[in-house]
């Protein structure tokens, strides 16, 4: 690239006009360099400022949360105001149950529609569904909550874990659908063709060759979706509702970590505040463990040479 340009002619003395021009250029160049420096500095500052809240939140979570964490927190039930101790065992189990119900609803539908989107790429129905699933993904979770209330709680007459799980599962559908589509999309066509050439019917090719090849990516996507809904509170306010007692029934109201954090945070009691911080720490830890597994799954997939 760096070929030296040969001098065209012996150097001449610059004329006055040329000298004035070059001085002006020098001056504007200096200004332009200063502006450049300032703007680049602004970007660096913006990056630092954007990361700061995260660091603050983590520092506070750990400082205030770790102190209230104990074995009791995981094994004991919530205690009434004024009684020392107590834990959130029921809320932790409740959250896990809600995640289970949500996955049972959201994963099959999400993976199924993702398969459709990938296999009918370009069809007008596929384009419509893809667009609508993005719209669904952007729907406020509280709207999903009142929908689930109207759909599953109002007719029955009482709150239930099932309604909460369905609300969360509905939120998973668009996320899972889009990652499934992406992951199925990067499976080499040759693989599919090889299976078809060996006489596999299309449906078996899709399920046991294509879907299986893409499975690591789909699992990652599913875990990311689970991590996102695990901390949702708004859809549970009028569906799962929360429960001070031990309950595993899907037809009864059930406790959940985010709900418990919310009611403890807005309560006036210090003991409950520290339980809220501990609950938040556990919730974040749960979400990060799920995301970490997802990341490891992705890395395994990439190092195995699959995908893009």
């Amino acid at each position: 690239m760096s070929t030296a340009i040969p001098p065209l002619s012996p150097p001449l003395r610059p004329t006055l006009r040329q000298r004035a021009f070059s001085e002006r250029t020098q001056r504007t160049l200096r200004r332009r360099r200063v502006v450049n420096g300032i703007m680049l500095g602004v970007f660096v500052v913006a990056a630092v400022v954007a990361v700061l809240p995260l660091i603050f939140i983590f520092v506070h979570l750990i400082r205030l949360g770790v102190g209230s964490l104990s074995w009791d927190f995981f094994t004991k039930m919530p205690t009434p105001v004024g009684e020392a101790g107590g834990g959130l065992a029921n809320a932790i189990v409740g959250t896990l149950i809600l995640i289970g119900v949500a996955s049972a609803v959201g994963l099959p539908v999400g993976v199924g529609s993702g398969l459709y989107l990938a296999e009918r790429k370009g069809a007008s129905l596929a384009n419509g569904v893809r667009f609508l699933s993005d719209v669904l993904n952007g729907l406020p979770s509280i709207v999903m909550g009142i929908f689930a209330w109207q759909f599953l709680v109002r007719p029955v007459g009482h709150f239930s874990a099932l309604a909460g799980g369905v609300a969360l599962g509905a939120m998973m559908i668009p996320m899972v659908a889009r990652t499934t589509e992406e992951m199925v999309g990067v499976v080499p066509v040759a693989l599919r063709e090889a299976a078809l050439a060996l006489g596999y019917p299309r449906w078996r090719t899709s399920l046991s060759i294509v879907l299986r090849t893409a499975s690591a990516g789909i699992v990652t996507g599913a875990l990311v979706a689970i991590a996102r809904i695990a901390g949702e509170t708004a859809p549970l306010l009028f569906t799962a509702f929360g429960n001070q007692f031990w309950s595993l029934s899907l037809r009864q109201p059930i406790a959940a970590l985010p709900l418990q954090i919310f009611s403890y945070a807005i309560s006036p009691y210090d003991a409950w505040h520290s339980l809220a911080w501990a609950g938040a720490l556990v919730l974040i830890a749960l979400i990060f463990i799920i995301s970490l597994i997802a990341r490891i799954a992705t890395r395994a997939r990439f190092s195995a040479g699959g995908g893009d």
Binding site: L132, N137, A177, G231, F241
Partner: protein, 325 residues
């Protein structure tokens, strides 16, 4: 569907026949699952619409413009909640957009390779924190900080009270607090879309500008940003969609008072926080229906905002692939 031709021999024919049935079942199943998405949206619109109908029918257009929300008297006007939703979202976007743009430009144009992934990961992490944890942090960390140094500083030291936006007592729970927490929450969404769009800008664009003697900033302003503009706008609108419907953190910080006040220090209400607060204790059918109407309005607004955002981002990615070819 099946292009395989039947050959002689019962076994093969049978197997192919079976395959055709299997194919049809499979195609039917995935089509059914795919149709679940539009059906779900339709069901939401229908259920909310039906439940909201009594209130919408009774109050008509006044439901959106009346500012009296009094469940006891049976008067329901959603104007304060709509106003609060819009104002808190605007504050959030005003604070978050420059930051998000700065981060994504830093990541796409400046940062050394080894720094890109960690910083990008940290910004993405902001999106992983649940709303209720933001609310908890807001109540116990952000509000005290706002109450003591920040709000008096804005009002008395900078004399911003003359603008009318920063006046009144500094209690803490306020439109400003909600806007700030929303800004932190939508930042990762705007940043990730803009980063993606910026990384999609072809290298040749930057190199051409630099070769013409532009400084790095001039290359960004003249060549990179115009190329990525509508994608970035799409990202901002996507962030707006998030901000409009965000519930828990806002409910915990906005003070929940159904009044329209110009001062950002005063408590307010948003549509989502109104629902979160009053839905489970709705006293009458009229109250419930009014809340459903609020939910319906929120649904419509976010569907429209998201549709616009997706359309913009989709256009850029399509345009980019078209132009790159």
């Amino acid at each position: 569907m099946t292009v395989v031709e039947a050959r002689e021999g019962d076994g093969a024919t049978l197997r192919i026949h079976g395959a055709a049935v299997g194919d049809r079942v499979y195609a039917g199943a995935i089509t059914f699952f795919a149709l679940c998405v539009p059906l779900l949206l339709l069901a939401i619109a229908w259920e909310l619409g039906v439940a909201a109908w009594p209130a919408l029918h009774r109050f008509g257009f006044g439901f959106l413009t009346s500012s009296e929300w009094d469940p006891v008297k049976g008067e329901f006007g959603a104007a304060p909640a709509i106003y609060g939703t819009i104002v808190s979202s605007i504050i959030a976007l005003l604070l978050a957009t420059p930051l998000a743009l700065g981060v994504s430009l830093f990541l796409s144009e400046l940062a050394p390779r080894w720094l890109r992934q960690p910083v990008g990961f940290l910004v993405d992490l902001l999106a992983a924190i649940p709303s209720v944890v933001y609310g908890l942090w807001g109540i116990f960390v952000l509000l005290p900080v706002l109450r003591d140094p920040v709000m008096p500083f804005l009002r008395d030291t900078l004399h911003l009270d003359t603008t009318g936006l920063f006046t009144g007592p500094a209690y803490g729970p306020s439109m400003l607090a909600a806007g700030i927490i929303l800004a932190i929450m939508v930042l990762p969404y705007i940043a990730s879309v803009s980063r993606e769009v910026l990384l999609a800008v072809p290298r040749s664009q930057r190199e051409a500008a630099l070769a013409l003697g532009a400084t790095r900033w001039e290359a960004i302003r003249g060549a990179v940003l115009p190329y990525a503009r509508s994608g970035i706008v799409g990202g901002i609108i996507l962030g707006l969609g998030r901000a409009l419907g965000e519930t828990m953190a806002v409910t915990m910080l906005i003070g929940n008072r159904p009044e329209i006040t110009a001062s950002l220090f005063a408590p307010g209400y948003t549509m989502a926080s109104l629902l979160a607060n009053e839905f489970s204790e709705a006293s009458s059918d009229a109250h419930l229906s009014a809340l459903m109407a609020v939910g319906f309005v929120l649904f419509l607004i976010t569907v429209i905002v998201n549709a616009i955002a997706r359309w913009l981002v989709w256009q850029v990615s399509r345009g980019a692939s078209g132009r790159a070819a």
